[in-house]
């Protein structure tokens, strides 16, 4: 999280923090472990009132940011979500609303956007596809437009909160271009199947579109020309996912630091053992560096700077590796209780491990960085 926030941002983050502490304490998360949604609808409605879904939406459309830096503001919420292992489709819901505001027709804004902003309806982003198309940005689900009908065929997975959403915002392929379609969950031919996940609080599902037909008016933006919108959505998703991971790391590190001072072994606190001290030093470095790149990448996305993708990939490559190592070291420092379900550490561990695989693996982002370097080299 940034070191120098505006007072509005401070207040905004504080509000969400207090709300999550109140509504989704660890006891609640554990109670909902087998709940199909993982959260109550009124939790979501109240969160929407706090602005979770409206940050990326223009003021004309009923949204608005806190600081004039919408992506940075959303990242603040993401940090708190990670810090509290909170449930709910924060990232896709905010992105769907933002995408509608960017490219939606008045009709779409009228119908759906209002419900999404109030939390009355949940919209999630159907973007990722199962292997062999699980590379970040690989889209094969097809959208054929004939006359005033658009026809969707293909599979999307994993899709966050697929079982709870009223709207699926589907990124599809039309020839060489991309098309995005807003699909009501009730549309005939759309099959939703819940998936298993390592996360305790978030839920995912698999969507199958078996020649689903909708009016062409369901298309958001222009057919085959959604590339730029999809790129922006993906950038925002990676940026906020990074802040979520950092939020979870931050919590785990603080818990473990406290443990090291309180826990005595051989009549000495763990914090007095040099080998552990040095691991804490490494973890502190990884944590601060992760904060730094998450914030730096978020800035670049918000300002649409050309280096945004390099920074996002650097963040996913770095946090995806060192974040996971930090979490496991926190587990190791706790000893046996660290690998029990009864201890809270795993709530945050799950969040970081999940984040390391969503929106591109460490290996994928390293590969992207190398290709980007080659282009720079060739350009030079």
């Amino acid at each position: 999280m940034e070191l120098e926030l505006t007072s509005d941002q401070e207040f905004f983050a504080e509000t969400t923090r207090k709300f999550l502490e109140d509504k989704t304490p660890v006891s609640e998360l554990r109670a909902k472990r087998n709940d199909p949604a993982g959260f109550d609808r009124d939790f979501w409605v109240q969160g929407a009132e706090l602005g979770w879904t409206s940050l990326l939406v223009s003021e004309e459309d009923g949204g608005g940011s806190i600081s004039g830096r919408p992506v940075a503001d959303l990242a603040l919420v993401g940090f708190e979500f990670g810090n509290h292992a909170a449930p709910g489709p924060l990232v896709p819901a905010a992105i769907v609303a933002g995408a509608l505001s960017r490219a939606g027709s008045d009709e779409q804004k009228g119908e759906a956007l209002g419900a999404l902003l109030s939390g009355a309806a949940i919209g999630t982003w159907a973007f990722s596809e199962p292997r062999p198309h699980d590379a970040l940005g690989d889209v094969t689900l097809s959208a054929e437009v004939t006359g005033d009908t658009v026809r969707l065929s293909g599979v999307k997975a994993p899709v966050e909160s697929a079982g709870q959403a009223e709207y699926f915002f589907v990124t599809a392929r039309t020839g060489d271009g991309l098309t995005q379609v807003l699909v009501p969950a009730s549309t005939p031919g759309v099959a939703v199947k819940p998936m298993h996940s390592i996360d305790l609080t978030r839920r995912f599902g698999r969507l199958t579109f078996d020649g689903v037909e909708l009016p062409a008016s369901a298309v958001v933006g222009e057919v085959g020309r959604a590339g730029a919108d999809v790129d922006w959505q993906t950038q925002v998703a990676v940026a906020v996912e990074l802040s979520e991971m950092v939020g979870a790391m931050d919590r785990a590190f603080k818990m473990t630091l406290e443990w090291a001072f309180d826990r005595y072994s051989f009549g000495r606190p763990l914090a007095s053992y040099q080998e552990l001290k040095h691991r804490f030093a490494d973890m502190k470095l990884w944590l601060e560096a992760s904060h730094a790149i998450a914030d730096g990448a978020t800035d670049a996305v918000g300002e649409a700077r050309p280096e945004a993708w390099d920074l996002l990939s650097a963040g996913k490559a770095y946090v995806g590796h060192y974040g996971v190592e930090l979490m496991h070291d926190c587990v190791q420092m706790h000893g046996g209780i660290g690998v029990t379900f009864e201890h809270d550490m795993h709530l945050y561990l799950r969040r970081v491990v999940l984040g390391s695989r969503l929106y591109g693996s460490v290996a994928e982002h390293r590969g992207r960085l190398t290709s980007s370097l080659e282009q720079k080299e060739d350009a030079a």
Binding site: Y264, F266, R357
Partner: protein
Amino acid sequence: MTDTATVDTDVESVEEFRQRARTWIRANLAPADASSRPGPRADRTDEEELAEFARQRGLQRQLFDAGFAGIVVPEEYGGQGLTPAHAQAFNEEITGFDYPSMLQIPNFTPCMAVILAFGSHEQKLRHVPPILKGEHYWVQYLSEPGGGSDAAGAQTVATRDGDEWLLNGSKIWSSGAWRADYGLTLARTNVNVPKHRGLGVFLVPAHAPGIEMHRIEMLGGGSEFCQEFFVDVRIPESERLGDVDDGWTIGIRWLFFERSFALSPYIIRPGGGGDAFAPSEASLVRLARKSGQIDDPVARDQIGEVRADSLVAGFAQRRIAQGMRTGYLNDQGAALSRLLAGVNGTRSATVAFELAGQAGVAWDDEDDDIGQRGVSFLSRQAGQIGGGTTEMARNVISERVLGMPRERDNSRDMPWREVPKGPSSR
């Protein structure tokens, strides 16, 4: 195999024994289920677990009746009175066949190993044969909540009451205690002396009156580990090992047996390799094929790394055992064995997760085998914690093997009741 050099010529030769074992094994044991991994399985229900456990008790009885149980255990206690070389030969012959994997650790070692090392003749006659027959399954009542790596700091107190002791306190991390018959128990017999000089080791019925058991759910699933609460548990003096207040002499050896499980001649260890925690490398190939990553050179590099680690570990474990036998290493060299098993297990679990791809974090039913790699990855550190942490192993290696100065122990020389057990104020 230089091991054969150590054969005692009065007994059946290793080669004769190997032939006899091979013949019997092929005639009586089923091939091992390729997909099965040793030890308890999180994905089995308690009923399935108990049924399998009963089946394996029967398997152990078969081994006993055929003269293959307790290969290095003296005959008077129901064993075969043979050498580690014979045990090694048996390990090689049984590779690929079904065996009672759930009965090995901690039952034969550390538990039976401790009883054999410190029990009286009567205690050994009473307890060892039922273990070899598969009738009694033993677990460790050793670790305590808040005890961490300082086993000698045990807070469970044993108070003398005539011919009996009253045990009060709590034990934790007793693996499989819920289905066990006995618990080898370390308790404090004297609180007025430094911690190392006031301990005792007791042979306790796992579910003795006064013991309340709670099963601990692990984050990777399963609840094999248990916590026990002792309230006035009565144990006769005849079920205490060794001399009064001298339990730590036993404790040191006990921890040694725990660290050196991978080298123990008391357990069946197919192939004789040491990295019990690692998923087999062949399964990594199957995983990478299903997850579609087998042709990715990065994935191939990682599989090769784990394969190399595993092949090296087999020879390293043998060298460590040989080194301890020949005096190249002292007994504490066993910590090298424990460290090796721990780091290899963590690394292979990490590689398995890498190979799982996106299905390692969110998956359909048909990808459950892939998804389980994600679940296992969450508890990848377990192999560096259970059985003594790798941190403790590194302390032992540097201090007891390399002879470096010991870490300061603030609790060493003061009466146990005065030892600081937490921050005085913060």
